[in-house]
């Protein structure tokens, strides 16, 4: 076993895990604030990719990267106002059923709009080369995605920690009823949070499109790992999502290298283990699942 291969897998695990971090952050702020388990997050991820395809024809990749997530965020806000808002405060099962149904319906919308076949989509030319990392040659695009998501995490952190709006969002995750009592317009807060969460899903979709291709089912394959990430990290926890995403990426990568037979199972095993030892997740607050 060469050290360079081990390091390559470790690095690749971090890079692939970053996409889950992005997905999990959106899920976790929605779940933390409104208590809704958003199963339509996966299909909104796919929407991000499809809108990127549409927009990129006019503006190129970077226009799509900028605009497509905004469109998805707006769709998210409309969905929140029209449908999701109706299940707040009800049994979590209602939210689950609603967003699950929404996911299936929206996937059909993709099939009707763009067909069942996948669509070709490539990274911009200058990012389709490789960079010598000494341990291996790594696709420039994947490195760029890694760097971009790191920057985004920093920006999100700044927003949540240092701005007033961010503080309200965090307070909402802690106790949205109290935030309402204190005079904050929770209706607007919830819509905004749902929009931010779905914006992140759309962004993850755009970033993933050049790597894995665009297809109607692309959301199905990321939704489960994303839920596992927030269960690992703890619902509502910012650093929990980051840690959980990285853990998942690294564990799956290393399993593929050393024990490929359990690669698919490994994430579920880790989740079961964490739930046994610490049901609230590594960084979770007491109360949500306890």
């Amino acid at each position: 076993m060469e050290l360079s291969l081990l390091l390559s897998q470790l690095f690749n695990g971090i890079a692939t895990g970053m996409l889950y971090v992005l997905m999990a952050m959106g899920l976790t702020i929605i779940m933390g604030t409104m208590g809704v388990v958003n199963f339509s997050h996966g299909v909104l991820f796919a929407f991000g990719a499809y809108f990127a395809y549409l927009i990129a024809e006019k503006t190129g990749f970077f226009g799509a990267l900028l605009l497509a997530p905004v469109v998805v965020g707006l769709i998210g806000m409309v969905l929140e106002r029209a449908l999701v808002a109706r299940v707040y405060g009800k049994d979590p099962l209602y939210g689950l059923l609603l967003t699950f149904g929404l996911a299936m319906a929206l996937e059909e919308v993709i099939r009707i709009g763009w067909g069942t076949a996948g669509l070709p989509f490539s990274a911009p030319g200058f990012l389709s080369s490789f960079i010598d990392l000494k341990i291996m040659f790594y696709p420039a695009y994947r490195l760029a995605v890694l760097g971009f998501i790191l920057l985004l995490i920093a920006a999100l952190w700044f927003f949540l920690e240092r701005t007033t709006t961010g503080k309200i969002v965090r307070a909402g995750i802690q106790d949205s009823v109290m935030v309402g009592i204190l005079g904050v317009n929770t209706k607007a807060l919830f819509t905004g949070v749902f929009g931010l969460g779905t914006f992140l899903a759309g962004l993850a979709g755009v970033l993933s499109a050049p790597m894995s291709g665009i297809m109607p089912t692309m959301g199905d394959n990321v939704i489960m790992p994303s839920f596992i990430v927030i269960i690992l990290g703890g619902v509502g926890s910012f650093w929990g999502s980051v840690t959980g995403g990285l853990m998942l990426g690294i564990i799956v990568s290393l399993c593929i290298q050393f024990v490929p037979a359990v690669a698919e199972l490994s994430m579920y095993l880790v989740m079961a283990l964490v739930l046994l030892v610490r049901p609230r997740g590594l960084f979770g607050e007491e109360g949500l699942f306890e």
Binding site: E2, L5, S8, Q9, N12, G13, A15, T16, R111, G115, T116, A117, G118, L119, P120, F121, S122, A123, S128, F130, M136, F137, Y138, P139, Y141, R142, M211, S212, G213, M215, P216, T217, M218, D220, N221, V222, V252, S253, I256, Q257, P260, A261, E264
Partner: protein, 424 residues
């Protein structure tokens, strides 16, 4: 999809459906009405021939499923235009299997028990095809396993008397493709294999050819169906430094893997190939990433009169060129209907007898025929090279056939296949 929604409502069908009762009273009186091309006598004479089409319209193989169904409907049109099969107009009932054996069997039972179909045509996934094959044998319903390539469909104890396979087996594809790859690009191979029946038999068929040529397996991995990120697997492959990576993946899985193979710059380091690739995937892979050597049951570049006609008819109806999935759907449905025609009866037993041993124009250079002892369609089998970059002249100009083997050269021999089909 609702029952009968896929029904091809030709003018005659429309007459039959909407006018049957009215025609009963009025038919005799208006017998001479000149506007009706199908005379009232024909309206009375035509019976309905119900054929079930089971293909995946959702899930990872949705696109292939749609193409197969489209191809099958071309054959239905062809028969209905000349008055149907054995004098009966063909009505199709389409259901979505979603590449799920459980769902497929449930839909199959519905078609057989509730709609009353005696024939089922379709399916992409061999795992689903094997489940349908078992069901149809039990229900005494003919099953045209249109696009299932796992050897098991016609080899060994899972093969059935009521099941026919219009496409090549994995072994046929591997023998046509693997020897070409081994001779040209080297004999150190790494295997990435989709973890189910089709993937396994594809890999095994390639391994057999490799062993016979004295080659070496330098590594292998099984990947779950629906995998989207192959980067960790590709890092392993690169580290093993094979001459060729043999990819037994299909549909979205194959698209993701080949895209990432390109992204990691591995195209300069090794060759890629496998049992199957085709237009509907290559279009998504994109011309810049399109690469490798692949088994193909057919291609639009097969230059025969039959192929040209089929391609033109398909283009006229759907506005795009057919993939080999569409070809298989056409052949499967066409063979079933012409079998019914020759048997002059809708009785599945008689149709089976009419099909067994029958030789026909399978739109290829050499004649195709149904082997009576395993129900494998013996036919020309191709190795295609995926074109890329500047050599791609139009969006569908994505493959070039580089090798062709006659069916008998590549199919299992009787000694290799211990099958014993049930008595009728």
């Amino acid at each position: 999809m609702k029952e009968g929604k896929g029904t091809q409502v030709s003018r005659r069908n429309f007459l039959k459906l909407s006018g049957a009762t009215a025609a009963g009273a009025a038919g005799l009186l208006t017998g001479g009405l000149s506007g009706l091309t199908a005379g009232p006598r024909e309206v009375f004479a035509k019976e309905e021939l119900k054929v079930g089409i089971l293909d995946p319209y959702s899930g990872p193989y949705a696109d292939s499923g749609r193409e197969q169904t489209n191809g099958a409907l071309i054959a239905v049109d062809e028969f209905n235009r000349k008055g149907g099969a054995a004098g009966m107009l063909v009505t199709t009932f389409q259901e979505d299997t979603a590449t799920n054996p459980g769902q497929a069997v449930q839909k199959g039972k519905k078609l057989i028990d509730e709609v009353g179909v005696k024939y089922i045509v379709g399916e992409v996934s061999s795992a689903v095809g094997l489940a349908l094959s078992g069901l149809c044998q039990e229900k005494k319903v003919i099953y045209m396993s249109v696009g299932c390539h796992s050897d098991d469909i016609t080899v060994g104890d899972k093969a059935h008397r009521y099941t026919f396979r219009p496409t090549c087996s994995n072994t046929m594809l591997a023998r046509a493709t693997a020897s070409y790859i081994a001779d040209k690009f080297g004999k150190k191979w790494y295997f990435i294999t989709s973890d189910y029946s089709w993937g396994h038999t594809g890999r095994d068929a390639f391994k057999k050819v490799l062993a016979a040529k004295g080659g070496k397996v330098v590594g292998e991995d099984l990947t779950p169906l629906g995998t989207t990120d192959y980067s960790s697997y590709l890092l392993k492959v690169r580290n093993a430094k094979p001459d060729v990576v043999i990819v037994s993946l299909y549909g979205n899985d194959l698209v993701s893997c080949i895209k990432q193979f390109n992204q990691f710059g591995m195209r300069k380091e090794m060759q890629i190939g496998g049992p199957l690739n085709g237009l509907e995937m290559a279009r998504v892979i994109g011309k810049d990433n399109n690469c490798g050597y692949w088994g193909m049951p057919w291609d639009i570049t097969v230059d025969t009169k039959g192929s040209r006609t089929f391609t033109a008819n398909y283009k006229a109806k759907y506005g795009k060129l057919p993939s080999w999935r569409a070809f298989l759907g056409y052949i499967g449905m066409h063979q079933l209907l012409s079998g019914i025609d020759r048997a002059k009866s809708p009785d599945p037993k008689k149709v089976i007898v009419a099909l067994e041993g029958h030789s026909f124009d399978g739109l290829k250079a050499n004649k195709s025929y149904w082997r009576d002892w395993d129900h494998q369609c013996i036919q020309d089998t191709y190795c295609g090279r995926a074109k890329s970059g500047a050599e791609v002249k139009d969006p569908d100009d994505l493959f070039e056939i580089v090798a062709m083997k006659k069916g008998v050269e590549v199919a299992h021999t009787r000694a290799e296949n211990p099958v014993k089909l049930e008595a009728l």
